[in-house]
């Protein structure tokens, strides 16, 4: 099977099996602080909140075990509090209270972002880790995500179902090791292609990538085991085919992709990306097309080395290209070993 070992090596290189100890400690401190200080902070604004009513749980890749190594550690932890949102209609204020509850520690920098409260950690002026805390209000049996920047005019309590989202993705991914690997591989591709991007919403959201991979994944295996190369190619190729592509009268390409959440609010995951710029989706499509072409070439060429060169174009320098075929004399010589 082609490139089995190099892909296995790449997977070992990119995967994060479990949270690092600094991340675990920071997360546990945060959770303790939320439980300890958020009720006090809420009380100071005449809102009753019992510590025991706060629910904190993982969201995102750490929940689905699809985390990959990136330059900045990134973790999503949901915070759910019971709250009458008909009375407390401004989620920005509640996010501010959460921010205040966490701001007594100098080693962390707390900011309010549109979908969450962001807690970042810096070393030598460089951010090395952040934990995003999406804040949910539980009201009349439903959850609502606090949306809106601290000083933005646009804000809302958006219906949400983080538990349903977790259940949906975990039920698809858990027990399907090849799917989990393919998700990590394609997230690695995204990381390689977008690691220099700084513009908001330019990068396809990870949840979108994860959902698209789950939608289009088909297990590929042979007598020699799972064929990850073909599985990645098929998934990426299928995702590419999901784009609606058109050309304007000048020959300029337009690309569009839609994937709605299967839980509340059932919104299009790529909407913000598309709303931010017409070019973002085109870039996504073009980069995906490049990857598909390289993967197809890798499958079609005969030599492992040549296939590896194509795959390296997709995954970057962390992918180790197998050596070229050696001469016939050297092939003989590989059988040698000492008897020591």
């Amino acid at each position: 099977m082609k490139l089995k070992k190099p892909l296995a090596d790449l997977y070992n290189e990119i995967r994060i099996q479990e949270e690092s100890e600094p991340l675990r400690e920071k997360r546990e401190f945060l959770q303790n602080d939320i439980t300890k200080y958020l009720p006090e902070e809420m009380q100071s604004h005449d809102i009753d909140l019992n510590a025991s009513d706060i629910r904190i749980f993982d969201q995102g890749s750490y929940k689905y075990h699809t985390t990959i190594k990136t330059s900045v550690i990134d973790r999503d932890v949901a915070v759910v509090i019971p709250l009458d949102i008909s009375e407390h209609t401004d989620p920005r204020k509640i996010k501010k209270y959460l921010k205040n509850a966490l701001s007594h520690v100098s080693t962390r920098t707390v900011n309010i972002k549109e979908p969450c409260v962001n807690v970042a950690y810096y070393e030598d002026g460089e951010e090395w880790m952040h934990i995003d805390l999406p804040l949910y209000a539980e009201y009349q049996g439903n959850l609502y995500l606090a949306r809106g920047r601290e000083f933005s005019d646009t804000y809302s309590w958006e219906p949400a179902d983080p538990d349903g989202l977790n259940d949906d993705l975990c039920s698809q991914i858990n027990g399907n090791d090849q799917l989990r690997r393919v998700i990590r591989f394609i997230k690695k591709w995204k990381y390689e292609k977008y690691k220099n991007s700084t513009l908001s919403h330019e990068i396809p959201p990870s949840i979108g990538i994860t959902y698209l991979v789950c939608d289009h994944f088909l297990k590929v295996s042979t007598d020699e085991g799972d064929d990850d190369l073909t599985a990645i190619y098929q998934v990426m190729s299928n995702i590419k085919n999901c784009f609606t592509v058109s050309y304007d009268i000048y020959g300029n390409i337009k690309a569009d992709i839609t994937r709605c959440l299967t839980v509340k609010p059932y919104s299009d995951i790529f909407k913000k990306m598309k709303d931010s710029s017409d070019t973002y989706c085109v870039t996504f499509y073009n980069r995906l097309s490049d990857a598909v072409k390289n993967l197809r070439d890798a499958i079609n060429v005969e030599s492992e080395h040549d296939a590896g060169v194509y795959v390296k174009n997709v995954f970057g320098d962390d992918f180790i290209v197998p050596p070229k075929n050696v001469s016939s004399a050297s092939t003989f010589s590989k059988k040698e070993h000492g008897f020591g």
Partner: protein, 555 residues
């Protein structure tokens, strides 16, 4: 075309290479902004190979460039071939040159992650070159790869520290190799074993990567990802240190091979604190120590021993020539705990077919064997009993062993003990091995007393009557010609020593198969010069007076 012209011609084909000058048998060229010498062999040196030297630069860290081995003119050797990995004789001269140049360019074109992998492959080479300890450190580590406190013993000769033994709890060393009077417990240094579960970004010390406390922190408290298990981390938080010195013994797996390296850590003070806090906040100095892992489990794995034998114990009855060969191979194959019974003494006439030596002549064979075996490895523990095993001893021993092996030539002993073992109902599997005179035929009988068949079946005919061993092939006449009489009824049979090797090899395989669960029935194995023949259960006699159906016997 001469050698130099061939090499120059090939080098000129590579656009990355620019030749600067040529000298006798070497060519100076530049490649990727560095200067290299190509040293080429003569054509008639058919096993010779092309090699390269690079201009030395103390700040230049690159895998396989052996900066420690500075050659003349400030050039360092570049290692392009693994030892014994190539048959240079098979290559044409041109192939040798092209192969070497391609290897050099491939080496110099490694990505950062490939360089890391290459550095890790040579981790201990770099580590040991930076080591500062003058004394030897021997590691005896338990096989379970979990965090543990270890015990340090030191040995002085003429007032000088010469060695440390660093030993996991539960590992016992024999007195033959590790004399307690010479080794002293060393209470002033704490020693800990820390298993690394993820070795990404762990690089050996080099010019640009001097090991410091940051490297230790990267292992125990990696920000990017965990390099130790969470359980180990918790142990670091729970373990207290009360001395100024600690030896950290790390283990990581590189290409399925254990790599152990040791760091000597000096703390700023003696204040008692957790190991995690001491390592995080209190390190004043880190010293790289070379160490050598010596535990039996590790060494067994190094040579590819079947791990199913590890931790098994054996009772060997008979320390004559066959017993000595079998005993030695058992302990080399993974059975390090052995009890041996024999009442005989070693004589000069035994020596050439015994696996001990004439130093032990006049001593009990079991004592000679114990010394010989325990010198193989400190964890080998041989209980030597200089007597013939009797019923009481046998019944005690079988409760503590996984296998019993008879290597005695006396059928009376075996027949008697066979009946005792049959009657106990809790005997481990037993192997009977014996040699025939003349040096051609030998036999191995595997008996699980819960299954049909026993040693006495060999001495029973179809009518249930006792007869001579039916498995034996050598005629009485030939037997007589091979008997050497020592006087007063004592005899020895001549059979040379090749039969010992053959029989021992088959017996060893048989033991492995037993512990791998490959024997479904009791089995007789015949060994001769031409073949090893598994006779299966053909030897079982229904009317055997020991294991047969007694009703059948009276029919």
């Amino acid at each position: 075309m001469g050698e130099r012209e061939i090499v120059l011609n090939i080098l000129s084909k590579y656009k990355e290479i620019s030749v600067i000058s040529t000298e006798s048998k070497k060519i100076l060229f530049t490649l990727f902004n560095r200067m290299y010498y190509c040293i080429y062999p003569l054509k008639e040196e058919q096993t010779g190979r092309v090699c390269f030297l690079v201009k030395s630069d103390e700040q230049y860290d690159y895998p396989h460039i052996l900066s420690f081995e500075d050659h003349s003119d400030g050039y360092s050797y570049i290692c392009l071939y693994e030892n014994d990995n190539m048959i240079h004789f098979l290559q044409t001269y041109e192939e040798k040159v092209v192969d070497a140049v391609e290897r050099l360019i491939a080496l110099l074109s490694l990505s950062s992650i490939e360089k890391e992998l290459e550095f890790q492959k040579e981790f201990l080479y770099y580590w040991n070159n930076e080591a500062t300890n003058k004394h030897s450190i021997y590691l005896f580590i338990k096989q379970n790869r979990v965090f543990q406190k270890m015990n340090i013993y030191n040995k002085y000769i003429s007032g000088n520290l010469v060695a440390w033994n660093v030993i996991s709890d539960g590992i016992r060393l024999n007195q033959t190799t590790v004399n307690k009077k010479e080794w002293n417990f060393c209470p002033a240094v704490d020693a800990f074993y820390i298993s690394i579960t993820d070795n990404r970004r762990i690089l050996p010390p080099t010019h640009n990567n001097i090991w410091s406390k940051d490297d230790i922190l990267k292992i125990i408290y990696g920000k990017d990802f965990s390099r130790i298990s969470h359980d180990t981390y918790i142990k670091l938080k729970q373990t207290f240190v009360k001395h100024m010195y600690a030896l950290l013994v790390f283990e990581m797996i590189i290409e399925e091979t254990s790599v152990n390296f040791s760091v000597f850590v000096i703390f700023r003070n003696k204040e008692k604190d957790t190991l995690l806090n001491k390592l995080t906040n209190d390190i004043s100095k880190v010293e790289i120590y070379s160490s050598q892992r010596l535990d039996y489990y590790y060494l067994c794995r190094q040579i590819g021993n079947d791990t199913s034998l590890l931790n098994k114990t054996a009772l060997l009855i008979g320390a004559g020539s066959l017993g000595s060969y079998v005993g030695k191979e058992l302990v080399k194959a993974g059975i390090k705990n052995l009890s041996v019974y024999d009442s005989d003494k070693l004589s000069y006439e035994n020596v050439l077919r015994h696996d001990t030596c004439c130093l032990f002549v006049g001593q009990a064979k079991v004592d000679a064997l114990k010394a010989e075996l325990e010198y193989i490895h400190p964890e080998i523990l041989v209980k030597a009993i200089n007597e013939n095993i009797d019923e009481d001893s046998l019944l005690k021993e079988i409760d503590n062993v996984d296998i019993v092996i008879f290597t005695v030539g006396n059928s009376d002993v075996q027949l008697k003990l066979n009946r005792i073992l049959k009657q106990t109902h809790h005997s481990p599997i037993v192997i009977y091995a014996w040699l025939e005179a003349g040096g051609s035929d030998s036999h191995i009988l595997v008996i699980d007393y819960k299954k049909p068949g026993c040693f006495e079946c060999l001495f029973t005919n179809a009518m249930g009557e006792l007869v001579n061993n039916k498995a034996d092939n050598v005629s009485d006449e030939r037997l007589q010609t091979n008997i050497i009489r020592n006087g007063c009824g004592a005899t020895r049979v001549a059979y040379g020593n090749t039969i010992l090797l053959r029989t021992t090899a088959v017996l060893l395989e048989t033991v492995k198969k037993i512990f791998d669960g490959e024997f479904e029935t009791n089995t007789l194995i015949d060994i001769n010069l031409q073949e090893v023949c598994d006779k299966g259960t053909d030897f079982v006699e229904r009317k055997c007076q020991c294991c047969g159906n007694r009703n059948d016997r009276h029919l």
